[in-house]
């Protein structure tokens, strides 16, 4: 079955996501596993899904590894990845969330998600969801269950009716829901940035005069 995303895939943000989970139990899945460095010579950000988890996903002869979870037919279309603790550690490559979203993933659930990966993901409509280790263990044990993610209430709804809150920065939440573009937001601060530069130059000059006077 395929996931339902509201608004539909193609737009960056979303308010609600319903999907079955696909599970990678390994802990510390690093960015070199998510997309190996040899695929980073591209100058594009599109089309990287074919390299996602490359060295786990393909066998030596280039064929799909049937034992790898994301290759199993019943996992096709799943948009929520549940992964072992400390997902996304390693490099700052934004190619990692680019590759995962190109694969159709819209959320990653773990008990810990590395800082830079989390920041990169939020800029690309991939929602990092950090849950308690006990809940993660539960999710890791039940691959394929259907979850509903409500970004408005920051809630993960489980099939048994439980709703679990997850942390999501208010700004990131607004960006996801309203599709606010962070660069656009920063560009609206240009006057303040300009004033900061002037204040700072003046402060350094002032400090230099004081030093002279000593």
């Amino acid at each position: 079955m395929s996931a339902s995303v509201n608004p539909p895939s193609g737009t960056q943000g979303f308010v609600e996501l319903v999907s079955r989970t696909v599970v990678l139990r390994e802990r510390n899945i690093d960015t070199d596993q998510i997309i190996p460095a040899r695929f980073l010579t591209t100058t594009e950000r599109k089309g990287l899904g074919r390299f996602a988890f490359n060295d786990w996903r393909y066998l030596a002869d280039g064929s799909l590894n049937p034992a790898f979870e994301l290759n199993k037919p019943h996992n096709a279309g799943a948009a929520i990845l549940v992964a072992g603790r400390n997902f996304g550690c390693g490099s700052s490559r934004e190619h990692a969330p680019w590759a995962l979203t190109d694969l159709g993933l819209r959320a990653v659930i773990s008990s810990e998600i590395a800082d830079i990966f989390r920041s990169n993901s939020l800029k690309n409509g991939l929602l990092p969801i950090v849950v308690a280790q006990e809940l993660l263990d539960e999710l890791l044990e039940q691959p394929g269950i259907e979850l509903r993610v409500d970004v408005r209430t920051r809630t993960l709804h489980l099939p048994d009716g439980r709703g679990v809150q997850f942390p999501l920065d208010a700004f990131a939440q607004t960006c996801l829901i309203e599709g606010v573009d962070q660069l656009g937001y920063l560009l609206r601060q240009i006057d303040a940035i300009h004033q900061f530069e002037q204040r700072r130059d003046a402060a350094i000059d002032n400090q230099q005069e004081q030093h002279h006077a000593r």
């Binding site: 510390n28 460095a37 810990e112 607004t174 920063l186």
Partner: protein, 478 residues
């Protein structure tokens, strides 16, 4: 601006406060001003494309510096003058950065000049990296620059675009972790062993959400090269930034760099820089204490940098599926020791250990000795400057005479994007910073180690305690 505050504050807070364009609130992150933005060919092209698509250009090209390091070959240009790029795509990536820098007036340290090199090696050696700055780069090892008391951290490509367009970033304030290191490092034990030991202690995720400040007598006794090795691997513990307060060691280093202030400007700069230290009584969110005197030569045995062991220690039994998987990938038996395991490749290089002092340590072991016939040894200086300095001391000759390959500067086998790679199933002892599965080539197995350990392993042809080679080293130096 002013760094004075009524409360004792940490170095991190001073750096943070001095760069706040606007503070954070419940609904919005802080806008943080960036003093120095370093760019390289791999993580910048999509950022420039984004700017272009919005009709924007870089706001402060003067605060942006570029270099070519990740996908560049480490073999010299051929007879036709062309560099032997691994792929046409790699060459295109390099040309794209050249084009972007030329178009927007960004200074690029390219092949035609004397300063190209690994981005985290050239920033400090040029004196671009200075205390009190905020420094970012689309590269997680930007933490290296924290050795100078600068708040330096890696960012993604979208953020590279943000900094290009506005010279600012949207950031939430991190928590602070003080790592207090006391005691003297034993002979044969260096900064790399120290940081590997620290990561082993706090875990590969132990610094997540934190900025680390390395403190204590052991840290103060380190050279700048060694401090950079320590800060470099902060990200391997999950911390985006590592800090060391600037002191006389920092100033002595900077005074010799070409871009540092001069004359009266220098004195004023030192006065400003010296405020950037944690006040007595400043409160950190967490503290960790490390006894440096107990540390032995340390290597990684698994597939992440937190899986470390002292050279003479027994590896863990496969206690859980992750450890079992790591042991199996590496071809180690639980409960065995690493020593004696045959080595195929030794790599001396990367932003962790490719500076002159690192090459000297390796050369001290190799002087008058031979690399074991089984081993391929690659030595890749971090920058053109390091290469020149090393060649002036005859280090290249020592390496070549020992049977090692002496290469052109770049990231090389650290990330294996340029064709320098470890073969499937081969075991590499590497001075780089990541031992993830396949990091140095598909199926490659990596032991992270100090330059001393790596060089000793190259000679022995198997994993060996570098202290066995120490007496000879001391004699050579004397």
């Amino acid at each position: 601006m002013t760094t004075t505050s009524p409360h004792p504050t940490t170095l991190f807070e001073k750096l943070w406060n001095a760069h706040l364009v606007s503070p954070e609130s419940d609904t919005a992150p802080a806008v943080l001003y960036i003093d120095l933005h370093l760019i390289h060919e791999v993580t910048s092209p999509q950022a420039f494309s984004e700017l272009e698509s919005r009709g924007l250009s870089p706001r402060r090209p003067d605060l942006t510096k570029g270099t070519l390091d990740h996908s560049t070959p480490t073999l010299p240009a051929g007879a036709d003058g062309r560099l032997p790029f691994f792929t046409a795509e790699a060459e295109h990536q390099v040309d794209t950065l050249r084009g972007n820098c030329a178009r927007y007036g960004v200074e690029l340290f390219d092949y035609d000049g004397p300063h190209r090199g690994i981005v985290h090696v050239i920033g400090p050696e040029l004196g671009l990296t200075q205390p009190g700055q905020t420094i970012v780069c689309g590269d997680s090892h930007t933490a290296t620059h924290g050795a100078f008391g600068a708040l330096a951290f890696g960012i993604g490509t979208s953020e590279v675009g943000h900094v290009l367009a506005t010279q600012c970033l949207l950031q939430r304030r991190a928590k602070t972790l003080a790592i207090e290191v006391e005691g003297e490092l034993s002979p044969g034990v260096g900064a790399k062993d120290l940081i590997l030991h620290i990561i082993g202690e706090i875990g590969v995720n132990g610094g997540t959400g934190h900025v680390i400040e390395y403190r204590g007598s052991t840290i103060r006794a380190l050279s700048m090269d060694e401090r950079m090795t320590v800060c470099n691997m902060s990200i391997e513990a999950g911390a985006r930034a590592g800090l060391i307060a600037p002191d006389q060691v920092t100033y002595d280093y900077l005074a010799k760099t070409p871009r540092a202030p001069r004359g009266a400007d220098w004195d004023r700069a030192v006065a400003r820089w010296s405020q950037f230290k944690s006040d007595d009584g400043a409160v950190f969110d967490r503290h960790v204490h490390i006894d440096a005197s107990k540390i032995k030569p340390t290597l990684t045995w698994g597939t992440h940098p937190g899986q470390v062991a002292a050279i003479d220690a027994r590896l863990p039994q496969a206690n859980d599926p992750d450890e079992a998987k790591a042991l199996a990938y590496m071809g180690f038996d639980g409960g065995a020791t690493m020593a004696g395991r045959p080595v195929d490749v030794v790599f001396i290089g990367s932003c962790t250990n490719s500076r002159l002092s690192d090459l000297r340590q390796a050369a001290d072991v190799l002087r008058g000795r031979h690399v074991h016939p089984r081993v391929r040894m690659l030595v890749v200086p971090g920058s053109e400057q390091v290469k020149r300095d090393a060649e002036a001391e005859g280090i290249d000759a020592i390496m070549r005479a020992a049977g090692a390959e002496w290469r052109e500067p770049g990231c090389s086998m650290c990330i294996a994007m340029n064709g320098d790679l470890v073969g499937p199933g081969q075991l590499a002892v590497s001075t780089s910073n990541r031992n993830f599965e396949g990091r140095q080539g598909k199926g490659a197995r990596t032991l992270l180690a100090s330059p001393l350990t790596a060089a000793a392993c190259a000679v022995a042809g198997h994993v060996v305690d570098p202290r066995d080679y120490l007496n000879a080293v001391v004699k050579d130096v004397a």
